[in-house]
């Protein structure tokens, strides 16, 4: 018998697992996939918590108070991330525009750019989905008085990729910098830049490099006389993958167990209590009993919720969902009603009937994208809601 069984190992599920494990509980995480982190950039947004708490039924109405605690807790778990509560930072998007960021991997902090007279944009040859001309033009638009220069970087190791016209993914470049040749190349490059430095307010913008992935790289950069600013990348991203690996590693180090690659088919319920999760693995059904469960199956993207032309369904418990009366709006990037679909919960994140408000299951906690009444892309709070709800659930298991 487990103390807690977490269904879904994305950011929300992992946070719940880590916190519960740290509190001395025995936790198992069962997850079909590795969640959305590897597609995301590693940046986590909390959004304007106080403002969002004013929105009727937004998850922050329940979670808002805990958000700051969750923020600090995350920084303890992931020291390679940076952030100061209440002070939003800045990171470069793959297009070279600045965007707000509350928690960001070390190295991504773009604030040195504001003081730079000269910005040197490193152009690693063949880097996939990176467009130097676009980035340069956008940098110039934002830093009008800085000079922006391109520094092309030819890497011997990738000559074969180039010859056949194969682009080099961010994740491959990130690994390269951690290798011995990579570190050597990096040292030489920094040395060259230092010699050629014209003023002491130069900054290097370096796509495809991720210090958070490798302590040795961090050491090299620490000795560089000029700041190096990394960029987020188009999916899949090395920084997102690193964050996932960190969180997973932390959970395991605390003694948590993970079963990845299989999904929970259903959970058996007896008199308002969830009892046994049935998992299909390699054609066999295995069951796990637990005292409490966390539902962290990631909404539509994680397939915790699926919609057909006629109905919308929660896939594990068959919980009733809040489904908005209108489904979509004409502006793609504006608020979309469908995104507000999810499970309504009480103060302890337990699922409620959206009509009567009655608690449906006593020992199930719903977190992350499974929650109703929010659109992460409009509220800029995807990471915040997921981390905070996961943190809270971890305290309840």
């Amino acid at each position: 018998m487990w103390d807690g069984l977490v269904i879904g190992g994305g950011i929300a599920g992992l946070m719940a697992g880590i916190r519960a494990q740290e509190r001395g509980k025995r936790v198992l995480i069962v997850s079909v996939g590795t969640g959305s982190l590897a597609f995301a950039s590693g940046v986590l947004d909390f959004g304007r918590v106080e403002l969002l708490r004013q929105e009727e039924k937004h998850p922050y109405v329940l979670l808002g108070e805990t958000a700051e605690k969750a923020f600090s807790y995350f920084l303890q778990c992931c020291p390679s991330h940076h952030g100061v509560w209440g002070r939003t930072g800045m990171a470069l998007t793959p297009l070279g525009t600045l965007r707000a960021a509350d928690l960001l991997p070390e190295g991504l902090d773009a604030s040195p750019l504001t003081h730079a007279n000269r910005i040197v944009l490193v152009v690693p040859e063949g880097l996939k989905d990176f467009f130097p001309e676009v980035v340069k033009a956008n940098l110039q638009k934002q830093f009008i008085s800085s000079t922006i220069q391109l520094k092309r970087l030819r890497i011997e190791e990738f000559v074969d990729w180039q010859a056949v016209g194969k682009p080099i993914p961010d994740t491959v470049y990130a690994k390269f910098w951690c290798s011995e040749q990579g570190r050597e190349t990096l040292k030489n490059l920094i040395g060259e830049m230092t010699r050629k430095m014209v003023s002491d307010s130069e900054t290097l913008v370096f796509p495809g490099l991720h210090v958070a992935a490798c302590p040795e790289v961090e050491k090299i950069l620490a000795q560089a006389p000029l700041p190096v600013v990394e960029m987020t990348s188009f999916p899949p991203s090395a920084a997102g993958q690193v964050l996932y690996d960190r969180l997973r590693g932390r959970f395991k180090a605390l003694g948590g167990e993970l079963l990845i690659g299989s999904g929970v088919e259903r959970v058996e319920v007896e008199s308002g209590q969830a009892r046994r999760a049935i998992v299909k693995s390699k054609g066999k059904e295995i069951s796990f009993t637990a005292k409490a469960f966390v539902l962290a199956t990631g909404g539509f993207f994680g397939r915790g919720i699926v919609a057909s032309s006629t109905e919308v369904r929660e896939t594990v418990f068959g919980l009733p969902l809040y489904v908005p009366p209108e489904w979509s709006e004409s502006s793609f990037l504006g608020a979309q009603p469908y995104a507000y679909t999810g499970v309504e919960v009480d103060h302890s994140l337990r699922p409620c009937d959206p009509v009567t408000g009655k608690v449906l299951l006593e020992n199930v906690f719903v977190v992350g994208r499974m929650l109703a009444h929010w659109d992460p892309w409009v509220g800029h709070c995807g990471g915040g809601v997921s981390l905070t709800s996961g943190f809270l659930a971890g305290g309840l298991l």
Partner: protein, 553 residues
Amino acid sequence: MGQGLEKGSVRYSVQVVIIGGGATGVGILRDLSLRGISALLIEQGDLAHGTSSRFHGLLHSGARYAVKDPISAAECIQENAILKRIAPNCLVSTGGWFVQMPGDETDYVEAWLQGCQEANIPVREIPVQEALEQEPLLAKDVLRVFEVPDAAVDGFKLVWDNAKSARRHGGRYLTYHRVNEVLRDGERVAGVQGENLLTGEPFTVESLMVVNATGAWADRVAATAGASLDVVCDKGVLLAFNRRLFQRVINRLRSPGDGDIFVPHETITIFGTTSERVDTPLDHQPTDREVQRLLDVGETLLPGIAGKRLIRAFAGVRPLHREDRELTGASGEGEGREVSRTFALIDHEVEEGIKGFLSVVGGKFTTYRLMAEKASDWVAGKLGETAPCRTAEEPLLPALSERLRRKALALLPCAAAEKMLERLGQEAVAVLETIREDPGKGQLLCECEMVTVAEVEKAVADPDAHHLADVRRKTRLGMGTCQGAFCTYRALPLMWREGEKYDPLGRELIRFLNQRWKGIRPILWGEQLRETEFTRAIYAGLLDLQDKGTTTE
């Protein structure tokens, strides 16, 4: 009403102005150009901006009309054979089946066989067992199956190939130019005037004759010359599925009705359609009700249809020419279908004494060439030109050389090479040369439709491309399963390089996303909904783009 020619900042002079760059208009442009008559075509959007890119893509065999409309049936089978000869690159001769289902009228089959025979449409019955083996998704309770020479046609390509062929013979066209008025000089038309929508500049064309080929817009355009036309706008909704559900066109064997045709195109299938009167050709947004109705009806031919992955819904507006006598007695749902689909040529001199002004409305995509021939005969007759029509014999494109095909196969994966040759024909030469010089440009920018960087670069640089959507139509970028989640981003730097022409980061990108979104909204469920979460995460989250109130059109 304009009298004489107004002063415009840009002036053109030709024998004939054609208004409307759909299949009908470009067909006329090509026909006149081949006869040596100087012609200029004016289109308000990109070519095929209207119904000619919002249709089913079925090159009719005529069998659909065999009972109700024998004239259309005969025209279709004749044109079907001609187009297979002159435009093989734009067609896939999939063949088509007519299948009878339980509950469909039984005496219809006999009348239909009779009609096909009279129209000279070859029909062959396929044993049910054999049919089910060849099309495993087809409903198991089919009663009878007949094969006819239906085919799939790429409307966009056919329109562009006509335009390019016309250009080789001296024809000209202006896109993103809207005609605001047909000018008169007493009893005669004197040309047209309008606005270049890209620059806002006015333009004027002087001409001896004006041909109005504006489809569902034809009554509005005619009215500017003081002429009247009765055009019925009839909206039809279509659904695109992400894979080839059937290998051939599947028609339901009954009186034509809603949701009874599936047409396979490349890797996808288009299913439809519906029929509903609308007030304006701009009303082409499918409603949830129409989509649901199609899925309900489609279940008969394709059990489990609602569970198949949809990638978008769209609608087109049929321009049906209404003659009053044909309308008496027609009423209620589906009345649009009762109006004859055979086309009409309206000589406004006969109708209301305006000389040199012809409107061409109605018809079908399948019969565009025939409509163009008749319209051009009329024009030539009035001008006293005697060169005969050559469009039934002259191929649209010169045949592809074996060398070109070999070169494509050497540089690109087989499927990507074939697709590119289909899209570009002879123009693939330049793209292949670019890839040979810089293999990086052979990278697939769009993995769903297998479009290379070099090909998109070429489309972007084309003087006819003004928006990301034009590039999309030329290359099929963003038309596949991902609906542009990845390739939209990847096309950005290429557009950027063109400098002034595009503004990819601001309006242009958001406008493109909103256009795609329009087609997804009516089918927002299943995998497409999941893809939507992902695409929004990328563009609104990761890239932090914000829509500051741009419109879709």
